[in-house]
């Protein structure tokens, strides 16, 4: 438990759920020392931990797959190539199953989303205190910071900024391809004259508008909600370790069980995000019949 006895359970949870935020406060750019300061930094602040982990994991994904892609052969594949091909084939069949149009972006996007989100989610399986403790120690010894004020959240997908960042990326691509395929008029008429024809225009706009906006929101919130809840449960279990050895032992079993169950959730959430992206892209490419 970070900081030992000086933190109450509430503070402990709060500490774990606060990002390391870099932004402008009182005219100077620095890390926020408290959650309050992070809030005061406003929009132009960055969650250093989320961004760094998402970047590192993304680069790891790129590095691994690029390594396989460079030596790829159609002859007998090596171990790494086998693994990569297995994923690629899985993504390819998912895309072929749900995406009817012709677009060379969709399959690579699905691959990126699936593996990247899976890796980011998988950070959840690392015991909740390890990386924040290390960060606190580094922050304290290297930068002289108060260890209680070093915030470090290691699961990027528990940060709504990250999930919304990706969901909005999908959203823009959706709109871009909708307009590209159907034309601006086609896209707008789909919003305005569907599903009730031109006499139901306001209702149409409202319905279609809501369904359009709900796509990225549901994408982002579903992933964020699942991962945030999972992370919170890990933190709650971790609190048990400070409440005597019997409860601690019980907590250990709970953590193991939850982690095993969580393997399913992290994979499933990555898969759902990917599949919905493919479906949304497919909707952007097909002209709906009236």
């Amino acid at each position: 438990m970070a900081g030992g006895a000086t933190l109450t359970s509430g503070e402990y949870i709060k500490h774990h759920l606060t990002n390391m935020t870099f932004g402008q406060i009182d005219g100077e750019w620095r890390l926020a020392h408290t959650a309050q300061e992070a809030k005061e930094m406003g929009f132009w602040a960055f969650h250093v931990d989320s961004l760094a982990w998402s970047l590192v994991l993304g680069l790891f994904f790129i590095w691994l797959f690029r390594k396989a892609a460079k030596t790829v052969t159609s002859d007998t594949p090596s171990g790494l190539q086998n693994f990569v091909e297995w994923i690629v084939e899985f993504i390819d069949s998912s895309v072929k199953g749900s995406f009817a149009g012709k677009n060379y972006l969709v399959a690579p996007m699905a691959l990126t989303i699936f593996v990247w989100i899976f890796l980011m989610n998988a950070m959840d399986l690392i015991a909740v205190d390890w990386l924040p403790q290390i960060a606190a120690w580094i922050g304290h010894t290297a930068f002289g910071a108060d260890p209680h004020h070093v915030y470090f959240k290691v699961v990027p997908t528990t940060d709504p900024n990250v999930t919304f960042g990706m969901a909005l990326g999908v959203f823009w691509l959706m709109i871009y391809y909708s307009i590209k395929v159907k034309g601006l008029g086609g896209f707008l008429s789909e919003l305005a004259f569907h599903p009730f024809g031109k006499w139901g225009l306001p209702v149409n706009l409202l319905l279609e508008g809501v369904s359009l906006i709900s796509k990225p929101v549901s994408l982002a919130l579903r992933l964020f909600g699942n991962m945030y809840a999972g992370e919170t449960i890990f933190i709650l279990i971790a609190i048990m370790y400070s409440a005597g050895w019997s409860l601690g032992l019980f907590g250990g079993f709970l953590q193991l069980g939850w982690a095993i169950f969580h393997i399913l959730i992290i994979t499933l959430q990555a898969f759902i995000f990917m599949t919905l992206t493919i479906v949304y892209m497919d909707m952007a490419h097909t002209v709906e019949e009236h």
Partner: protein, 156 residues
């Protein structure tokens, strides 16, 4: 839980990674998969073709074997026929040659016999003359008794 510029940063990462994957990772991997798929299909097709060809070849070999057997039988029959002919011819030739040799020998024998007869006649004549001389105790004038002698000789 504050919404801030992290969102923009994440979007930038998102597009950058997708771009990289689309450009440098997806195409080689999917091409290799397609290529392998094609290779396997080709291999299967080739195996199928090979099997078919083998069947054809077997069929052809069977036919050829039957043909060869038939030809061999023909050749043997022909050879037998020819050998019979040769034997017959040889028999005929041998017979002819034998007859010829026999005829030649016969004529020679006759010739010898005649010659022996002639000699014998001459000798008998001489003996007769000698005998007669001894009986007559005189010489017989060959010239005088030529006709007698000849007659005698002819009788012998």
């Amino acid at each position: 839980m504050n919404i801030n510029a992290t969102l923009i940063g994440q979007s930038i990462f998102f597009f950058a990674f997708i771009w990289f994957v689309m450009k440098y990772i997806w195409p080689p991997l999917i091409n290799a998969l397609e290529e392998r798929k094609k290779k396997i299909a080709d291999g299967l097709a080739a195996a199928e073709r090979g099997k078919h060809e083998k069947e054809l070849a077997e069929q052809r070999a069977k036919e050829e074997l039957a043909e060869a057997k038939k030809q061999a039988a023909d050749i043997i029959a022909q050879a037998q026929k020819r050998s019979n002919e040769i034997v017959d011819e040889a028999k005929d030739a041998a017979k002819e040659e034998g007859d010829r040799i026999k005829a030649a020998a016969q004529s020679e024998i006759e010739l010898e016999v005649n010659r022996a007869k002639e000699q014998l006649r001459v000798q008998v004549a001489a003996i007769a003359v000698e005998g007669a001389q001894k009986i007559l105790k005189s010489e017989i004038d060959a010239k005088k008794h030529e006709s007698v002698l000849d007659e005698l000789a002819a009788q012998i």
